[in-house]
Symmetry: D2
Subunit: 349 residues, 4 copies
Amino acid sequence: MAGSSFGKIFRITTWGESHGPAVGVVIDGCPAGLALEENDIQAMLDRRKPGKGEYSTARAEEDRVQILSGVFEGKTTGTPISLMIENRDHRSADYSQIRDVYRPGHADYTCDEKYGIRDYRGGGRASGRETVCRTAAGAVAEKLLGELGVTFKVRPLRIGGVPAEKEEEVKDLLEKAVREGDSLGGIAECVISGVPAGLGDPVFDKADARLAAAVMSIGAVKGVEIGDGFAAADRCGSENNDSFRADESGNVCKRTNHSGGILGGITDGSDIIIRAAFKPTPSITKEQSSINREHENVTLSVKGRHDPVIVYRGMVVMEAMAAITILDMMLENMGARAENVISFYGNRK
Amino acid sequence: MAGSSFGKIFRITTWGESHGPAVGVVIDGCPAGLALEENDIQAMLDRRKPGKGEYSTARAEEDRVQILSGVFEGKTTGTPISLMIENRDHRSADYSQIRDVYRPGHADYTCDEKYGIRDYRGGGRASGRETVCRTAAGAVAEKLLGELGVTFKVRPLRIGGVPAEKEEEVKDLLEKAVREGDSLGGIAECVISGVPAGLGDPVFDKADARLAAAVMSIGAVKGVEIGDGFAAADRCGSENNDSFRADESGNVCKRTNHSGGILGGITDGSDIIIRAAFKPTPSITKEQSSINREHENVTLSVKGRHDPVIVYRGMVVMEAMAAITILDMMLENMGARAENVISFYGNRK
Amino acid sequence: MAGSSFGKIFRITTWGESHGPAVGVVIDGCPAGLALEENDIQAMLDRRKPGKGEYSTARAEEDRVQILSGVFEGKTTGTPISLMIENRDHRSADYSQIRDVYRPGHADYTCDEKYGIRDYRGGGRASGRETVCRTAAGAVAEKLLGELGVTFKVRPLRIGGVPAEKEEEVKDLLEKAVREGDSLGGIAECVISGVPAGLGDPVFDKADARLAAAVMSIGAVKGVEIGDGFAAADRCGSENNDSFRADESGNVCKRTNHSGGILGGITDGSDIIIRAAFKPTPSITKEQSSINREHENVTLSVKGRHDPVIVYRGMVVMEAMAAITILDMMLENMGARAENVISFYGNRK
Amino acid sequence: MAGSSFGKIFRITTWGESHGPAVGVVIDGCPAGLALEENDIQAMLDRRKPGKGEYSTARAEEDRVQILSGVFEGKTTGTPISLMIENRDHRSADYSQIRDVYRPGHADYTCDEKYGIRDYRGGGRASGRETVCRTAAGAVAEKLLGELGVTFKVRPLRIGGVPAEKEEEVKDLLEKAVREGDSLGGIAECVISGVPAGLGDPVFDKADARLAAAVMSIGAVKGVEIGDGFAAADRCGSENNDSFRADESGNVCKRTNHSGGILGGITDGSDIIIRAAFKPTPSITKEQSSINREHENVTLSVKGRHDPVIVYRGMVVMEAMAAITILDMMLENMGARAENVISFYGNRK
């Protein structure tokens, strides 16, 4: 219960620090008989890779995933799928600059307060490095979701306050940030299509709440909204309510989708829309003031190459977390009606 | 696991529909020896009562809480605390208007899709009525948190797009909404002071993620942010990072609190700041178009007296959910260091 | 997580002390659309009632169950089913004899050690009274299991060391125990038929392990075995292995059922056989030596009418716990194969 | 929730099949600051090694544990401890004999029924191989428990029906079993000393129930008892109740320990006594009848070297599971009293 696991039926547990020999994830509860090979996972890891987003760091991070268990003759067996990604060159860095200093915006101080000990070589578990494991698990979830007709689209909406479609302006901003040793925040959106109506529960495990927890658990995310989110707060009910409508065949749709595909915590069959606010990368080379472990005031500059913005890589992690959550809710939902349970076991015998 | 429970150590389970005989909550895991009586809980229920917020509905809802178990001679015994609140006059209403119609913005359609059956007398579990149980449980959490030096402040920030401090303007807006049979959304803020550093976990159970899930599980909430939230996304790192600073006695503080008291998922000892976006009340008397259970297009007007805005009552529920989450993290955190475990059992024997 | 909940999908939470106003149980995760009324539950409560077993106490305990939520127009709605049973005459007793004394064989001492406070009016949560809630929840589980073709049979095997079929001898033993202010232990067996193959998981959540936890969580149970249990330990493999066999239609059966219907933690379609050892009722009028809260040596005799043997009532609770466990595993198992998940959502859309 | 995790605060997740590249375990929730190195774990793995028990198989299984995360500079960091043990020579075997045949007493048939797919190279997850992971996690638990004054002793009680102290007779039995291609069952006992009073909860999470689930989840175990267990069922209350007694300093002890250190589900400070019945090894070379995947009747003989008895190795796993359970309850118990929570956070600030 120390918080390295996520999900109820499709349940993942991640492990590993940014500067240990490897990181990994154990997926328990993946249905058996799903075709799965390392390449299925690798493709999604590559999307998260630095350098894919044009402005992400050029540091060569060759993330090769290995399947250690749970797959036999190309199919999942229903047993835990253990995935491991080695950390290349994790021994070579020079940590002297951050060893005794609490970097602003990082978990250095809070980890020391909680545990009384900290892996000073990097962000430890709070490092973005951990998210490679979530991405790998998300790829497995998406493999099955693909067969269930569920698809995902993520895109940046804003970078440093500028709409992402203004590409030149964003480019200039990012180059300026790199030049000045600074970083930028941004907003990303994930749209999930093909989700059946009926997922989620009406109280604590509302689909909104579970997706919010999923996305807010990504290190740099400090805000989450579903559908119109904060904009809905400025509206009146007659504007914000989505009218239902039936076509001549009796198929149900909504005229609008302000609710982002979730009503009363349960999916309504429309697209699910999630937006996340990513704070600017806390690692900056610009000089900052802080304290050290002896609680003395110091100044520091975080050397090394850092992503000037987290959004491009972070939105892949956001998609992965959303995929894990949706699949988990789909599995959980199968027993919601007595008639379905009776038919399942009746047909089986 | 059907989502009516929340929390890990201090764990609550709510039950009851808006139109059944009663609603209630079972609190499992409340530490023993806490002085507790019904009045401690009643005070918080009264804050949530309609009519307390000036613009909340005048319908007389006399919520009297009963303690059915877990308290003996005025103190908690460590066993489940069962709280029940009867639903007065729950039999008298006329449901004919909504029996076969799916109200826009409500869970009517989605519940029918999930369960194939719906309590058509009201919102069922997705009703705001359920939140009286959370509020009662929150009051118990706050009783213990008070002895731990943790305090809560909630306030409305915006109503219908207008800053809440412009009281006259807000009043006019609300009166107009009532007159027109419409409703308004709004934003509320909860500030939690006195939280020790070190709560929360660095990965999935980040303090941000747990608070986000807690608050987003309130029916009308469609957006949550911690600290500066979405505003941080428009900033650069050198602005957004909170510098640590030590005074001459070595006490640590931060110059700013953009992070809202949480770094890398773990509390840093500063105030925790949460904001929630509440959508406008979906029940409006203005005519809307929708469909019925036979998937025919219809128009409807939701009769009865409704809160024109949820924020005033909802922010009390928000405080309750935050309290439950904070206490839960405090209990969980006690075993984070081996030295504390050794000292606890060493001193005891 | 303080241990008043049981189950993963079909999850129950019990509350209430033996001497409070009521006891109750909240069932979360019961599939929607199951026909359910109070009489369905009452029938099983009546089987557990003292006086039903010929040698159980004559104290009139009229347990009337009330359904407070989760059922609408005679069917479950998928939301929490809250059941309450009032404690009649719970105020009348005289507790002076046990107020400050730790009764041997009871949880008086251990509760005081754990919580620093104890409801001295009775056994509190550790009382047999709590099991009325499990029985009520078990009745709900059995209602659905009945439609799934799963049936339960419980019977006493031994009472005070004598085979239960020697009815006269047992009767004499029990009368002697009552006469002498003493009590007897015994062994009961539960046989579950119609369980489909494939339930349970191969590692920690083996069907054996879950059933063992379910049954061992009944207060008086100190031993559990599945199939031949302890007898299997004295055998060799060639005797103990159950040979599979196929009839001409290819239907699979086993020549023997030493394994009690579970292989490698997963059900094999044969009858599941569980046996539990119940210790003798710890409340006896015979004089015993013990200590009081001040840790002084005292003697005591527990006045009042007590069941001379727990087995007859306990085996109904055993059946209830088994039913809850089996239904939970059936619900959980529905997503075990990818093909079933695909077919479920494919057929649905 | 697919059952590869165990524990609530100190929570382990195992992964890996008998014939994959490796097996492993992730321990989440281990307190930070515990001195830990691979040798601490290796020692316990060596105790479980085949060949250590005189009659265990001679197959060279060199289990070398690697710590992949969660330990920094020789101390646990509070983050997940990932342990991996490679499977040597896992590619070399010849599986043709069992590929299409369901071995009696194994999970071959039930896994196929559940998942529709089976790793036919061995027992998969249901294999004894998985228990090396539990043993490794148990070693970590015991490291901390050692500092808390808790110690474990396991021993065989009976082998093939013969008391284990009759060493010559047991030796003859085992040699006969090996000669005849057969196997033997047995009973082992685990005694845990130094456990503080107050662990466990009074209802579903009774210490007895948690230990029973822990031990019954070991593949070959088909029976569990606490204290006198089944023997208590043949006794009367005046014999079975353990009288409390205080010495002149007011220290509490019991005259007897029939209850095995647990009263009402909560530890009483006496030794905890658990016994487990291990069935005979199901893999035997003696010819058996069974069926194949096409449900045709066949005969088979399971070739290869097998342990003629599981008890010697299994009792180390039993100790490991008990250690994990006890530590978990100790961590969970720290917040049981409000006064302790207040004192913990009061002293800290």
